[in-house]
């Protein structure tokens, strides 16, 4: 049953122009990804699934879910999208793996190169001029807004738990975690491990 998801993926014929197109798309997206790569996911869906049909809908969703569930930066979902495009083009076996690696490299290089270079140059300048009043005002002034964004992100994530009346154990777990992070030095992996165990046992 589960194997069906891998079999039903279409076998694509991608030429050099298509790979270049993919690279250029991610290059162009890079500088728009203000506020994190995940904010641009809807546009990737439009391009990869709807317009080019290089990925299926389940492949797209699974790429995001796996990258979110795995440790590491969430931006790795873009690597998985590229990997799946390559797999779709190469099919099962070595050819698929090679093209998967190519797709991964194309997408990650494209999305990271412009933004990383810009960040590197800009923050170098900012650090050299850190005593300037304008630079200090910018960095300190942004602090309350950034903390607000952080709390808003937590709220958006928590809202996916469902309604309080029926899903209260999930909400409770989140609330307990907040207090533990705030008040104790307990290692974060203990909290994640406990959450995973409670979920696997079906208690939340």
């Amino acid at each position: 049953m589960t194997a069906a998801t891998t079999v039903t993926a279409p076998l694509l014929a991608l030429n050099a122009g298509d790979w270049l197109n993919l690279f250029l798309y991610y290059l162009s997206l890079s500088l728009l990804a203000v506020g994190g790569a995940i904010a641009t996911a809807p546009d990737m869906h439009r391009f990869l699934v709807e317009r080019q049909a290089w990925l299926t809908d389940p492949q797209f969703s699974a790429s995001i879910a796996i990258a979110q569930a795995a440790p590491g930066p969430n931006v790795l979902f873009i690597a998985l999208l590229g990997w799946n495009v390559g797999i779709n083009a190469g099919g099962p076996g070595v050819a698929g793996w090679l093209l998967g690696a190519l797709g991964m490299a194309v997408c990650m290089l494209g999305v990271m190169l412009p933004s990383s270079l810009l960040t590197w140059l800009a923050t170098r300048w900012g650090h050299r001029n850190r005593e300037r009043r304008a630079v200090r005002a910018f960095k300190q002034g942004m602090a309350p807004v950034v903390i607000g964004l952080l709390l808003a992100t937590a709220w958006v994530l928590a809202r996916a738990h469902g309604v309080w009346a029926t899903d209260w154990p999930v909400w409770l777990l989140t609330a307990v975690t907040v207090v533990l992070v705030w008040r104790t030095k307990l290692h974060l992996l203990w909290m994640l491990g406990t959450g995973a165990a409670l979920g696997a046992l079906g208690w939340i």
Partner: protein, 196 residues
């Protein structure tokens, strides 16, 4: 305690990474602990455990990483790495942040099909998601304490943070508008408070 107005990460009394290899492995360990986002772990490891930076400096760097285009933690690793060892440091930190998590995520993707239908796996993901939301909120509350020396004063900071939460989570306004409007206002107000 370094005063909030002079963030100077290379202060001689402060612990700092020994070399780019140290940076690489520090960021690798940090990334591998970061389920559902790395931010909570960055604060815990770099500020509380290693002491490479203060909470104030962390918030300031995070603000810059957030406002620049590109993935936030990627930007943050480039900034921190570059500060200690220049381009070599930036590349080392970035490589640490990405290499092993990438291998892991690929492995997960390859075995995902076998286990995605197991209820226990779905439940574990749900539990970890609930904890991840709590981690981010907990760090947010903790960082708020670092605002006590802020030039704007605590009440105004609370108002600005509150407006940001409403705009983002309540009104669902795009970040593209929130950052220039609320962030811009906060920066101008701060600029007026700072000594020229």
């Amino acid at each position: 305690m370094a005063p909030a107005t002079s963030p100077h990460p290379n202060a001689p009394t402060r612990p700092q990474p020994r070399n780019p290899t140290d940076l690489f492995w520090s960021f690798t360990l940090l990334a591998l602990q970061g389920f559902g986002g790395v931010l909570a772990v960055v604060q815990r490891e770099l500020v509380e455990k290693k002491g490479w930076m203060t909470n104030e400096e962390f918030v300031e760097d995070w603000a810059v990483a957030q406002i620049m285009p590109g993935p936030n933690v990627v930007n943050l690793s480039i900034m921190i790495g570059d500060r200690y060892f220049g381009l070599r440091g930036a590349v080392a930190a970035l490589a640490g942040m990405l290499t092993f998590p990438l291998i892991l995520v690929l492995t997960l993707a390859m075995v995902y099909a076998q286990f995605s239908s197991e209820p226990a796996v779905a439940g574990a993901l749900r539990g970890m998601g609930a904890v991840a939301a709590g981690l981010i909120a907990g760090v947010g509350i903790k960082l708020f304490a670092s605002i006590k020396n802020h030039p704007l004063g605590r009440p105004l900071c609370v108002v600005l943070a509150g407006l940001t939460i409403v705009a983002m989570a309540g009104l669902r306004l795009p970040l593209f508008w929130i950052l220039p409007v609320l962030g811009g206002a906060a920066c101008v107000l701060t600029w007026r408070k700072l000594a020229p």
